[in-house]
Symmetry: D2
Subunit: 257 residues, 4 copies
């Protein structure tokens, strides 16, 4: 589908790395886009990484406003089929292997026993991912204010509550514990209420990456990819060298008919 | 210097990813090498990654023995100078940025206050790294059996004891907390007693990566790089799909005069 | 029932606090008992505490062997009935209140959401305790070597495996999270295989304490109480001032017909 | 000295346990006191425990205001002398032993190595306590908003920041790791700015309990004891059966000349 995106961010002075551009990835096309910055400052644009993530860096001297607007065609996203095959490690593409191991917020090494106990009796592949998504949806509540920037999947597993980022971390963790490559995706999401940056994840099965949204708050068909990485530590839309809170941020996504 | 390496590994049946080859990295030359496998099995060799790490994969049906032998010239490794400059984020090469963020064993986000309190009064760059290496050496004991495969730098900071991997995780964590890019390196180490795989780390300062050994157990000049990554989760010399203990492993490194 | 107990312990030099005597508690009678120590050393016997726990202290100069033998009548222990009533806080005996709060291994404050979500729809009291015991039995495996002396109920909840002490910590934690007073009990257990010190717990409902064994490894009717406290930190059968491993310990419990 | 205390608390409906009365402990005398409750509700007063803590329980049906006013003579509190002797375990009074073991917020078992490394070269007793108080004061910042109700001493040790409760938990933890009995004390504190409930701790040396304030925010001479226990889990001035925030609380302490 074709989507129109608008994100406005206001920041305080600090060194920043910003990831708000729609990715130039295989699965979507940027029809048009524009970044406006006020006041005018020196910005260093990085090259898209191998997953199409585009970031820019700046050293802010005072308050600054960034406005990103884009029109993106995200093609025809397909829901993960239950019969999607799981690959043995030997058959995985080399660049996918890194998404099998534990990361800052996804200590999958600690969840092997739980994941095997709970999902090991199902056929490997799509069926297991569907089952763990259902498990998360049934056992975790979407509640703001429970988690912080430090919350890991282990903690969310105990808390049984969190926001989109926590849901995704738990999903990634369980997938990796089942030897299914999984990685975090930051996204713009159509029909997400209230509108905000969204965090989802994707799994590698049947020789393809499949986007899933463990919160079930927005349809996969309306997702626009921004960043892709191990977990939230890799794909924060804002990374700052000093502790700094954005002053305000405002996101909107609308379908273009 | 020129080094001769021999590593023999015996494993039980499982899917494995092995990282024991000397890296084909900018900082060393492989003069000759040989991998012998008994019994003969199907091995999938991955391409060297952008840091020269070479891994291979196999699905073991029974006990298997891997013998890696190599002659490597690791050039002229130089100790990190105290005056090495620290770059602001904007000036860092793009591919270095990923080594600023927290990872599984290196929760640098939790150490910003400690690192700033303890080392923030020193000039940025090499002097801070020297100071934190000294701090680790003075405050942490090299003791086996305290840490496990799950031990993070946070835990080592409390335990005040660990092995090479723990020392490196703590060093990496403190560097990142000071905005200094740092990454883990698995290595063969000349003069390490007892001989074993070694874990060190490297920091990015003055437009170069500098190897350091926080344990001070082996000279930097005798290190041969194997894997390079965020932390031990990336560069394990052995990753297995099932819980599996290697049956035996034996490493030796000798200088060739 | 009437039980015969024998526990032999051999220790290395250190200061020790030992808790191996059958408790002089309301729910059991000590018919006879004997403590032999070799070599002969100075022992300080503490008074039974308000729960009947009897400990002794000694400073060992060399290896020492303690042999405790007793004949105990533990009366008629009754299984917790599902209809046992839960008291509002105001109606609890004052000395019971301390068993509502979190302790070292039982961070019940972190489990309020999970416990309420999972068991909150059942009637308060015995039914909830039965349900959480069933939950533990179905979701946690009895496996040695997964947990250590530091393992908390939070970790066991993630690991889904542990030994008797871990099962009890998880049970206590879930009870407290549901506002049900719960405390740890160390015990001799008839029919426990292999014979060893056992850890169970008890809940306060319907104006009485009820013993339960979340591992289901030994019948409640064959339990002889030793220590009673917040969690394992309170009732270790051995506490040492220095790190010290017992050299050997050997327990046996037989029914006297 | 003689102190006048006033504490006003306003709460929402819930079951509550409140600990705001000056303790009837050996070390202070209550000259006069009064508790006013509006609206009038049924209150259950517990007996003072063996440490003189007096709590009351109530089930609030609507918002309620509690006003506690008292005049207390806290005698002549003396600063801990550096030469205060440390007792071997065998010589400690029996009821003191419980303050040697780890508790919810004071995992002293994890700090044995650090404490021994850092303070083990000093003479046992008062000198070690003085040294660890100095260490805390030099290495931890008094900062609000870093810690939460869940923060343990382990976390504060990493964070290097916290409030009075965190300072005390860390102090207690280090003492216990050195085999020095230590326990938490909630208190009214003269000259504390801004006025609030205060958390300090006390150590058992030379056959007496000695109050210390690791924050150095208020003189020991102006402390009025309220609750005494293992850690904050025991002596919260307010414990509620449901999640409930006090609506307001206001404390004042003045010296009576």
């Amino acid at each position: 589908m074709k989507l129109s995106i608008r994100a406005e961010l206001i920041y305080e002075p600090t060194e920043i790395i910003v990831s708000v551009h729609a990715a130039t990835s295989w699965d979507q096309t940027i029809v048009s886009e524009r970044l406006s910055v006020a006041p005018s400052i020196d910005i260093k644009f990085d090259q898209p990484d191998e997953r199409g993530e585009r970031r820019f860096r700046a050293a802010l001297q005072g308050e600054a406003t960034f406005l990103y607007e884009a029109e993106v065609d995200n093609g025809l996203r397909v829901d993960l089929p239950a019969h999607a095959l799981q690959h043995p490690w030997r058959e995985l593409p080399q660049e996918v292997l890194q998404y099998l191991t534990a990361s800052r917020y996804c200590p999958s090494d600690k969840f092997v026993r739980f994941a095997t106990r709970e999902f090991g009796n199902l056929p490997p592949g799509g069926a297991r991912v569907h089952a763990l998504l259902e498990w998360i949806f049934m056992h975790v509540d979407y509640v703001g204010g429970v988690s912080t920037a430090e919350t890991t999947a282990e903690r969310t597993f105990v808390d049984r509550a969190g926001v989109c980022r926590d849901f995704s971390h738990l999903g990634i963790t369980l997938c990796r514990a089942l030897n299914i490559p999984a990685r975090a995706v930051s996204a713009y999401a159509w029909r997400l209420e209230p509108p905000d940056f969204h965090a989802v994840f994707e799994v590698f099965l049947d020789n393809a990456w499949w986007l899933v949204d463990p919160t079930r708050l927005a349809p996969v068909q309306g997702l626009v990819r921004v960043g892709t990485g191990r977990d939230a530590a890799d794909i924060a839309f804002l990374t700052t060298s000093e502790v700094c809170n954005g002053i305000s941020q405002c996101v909107s996504v609308t379908a273009i008919t």
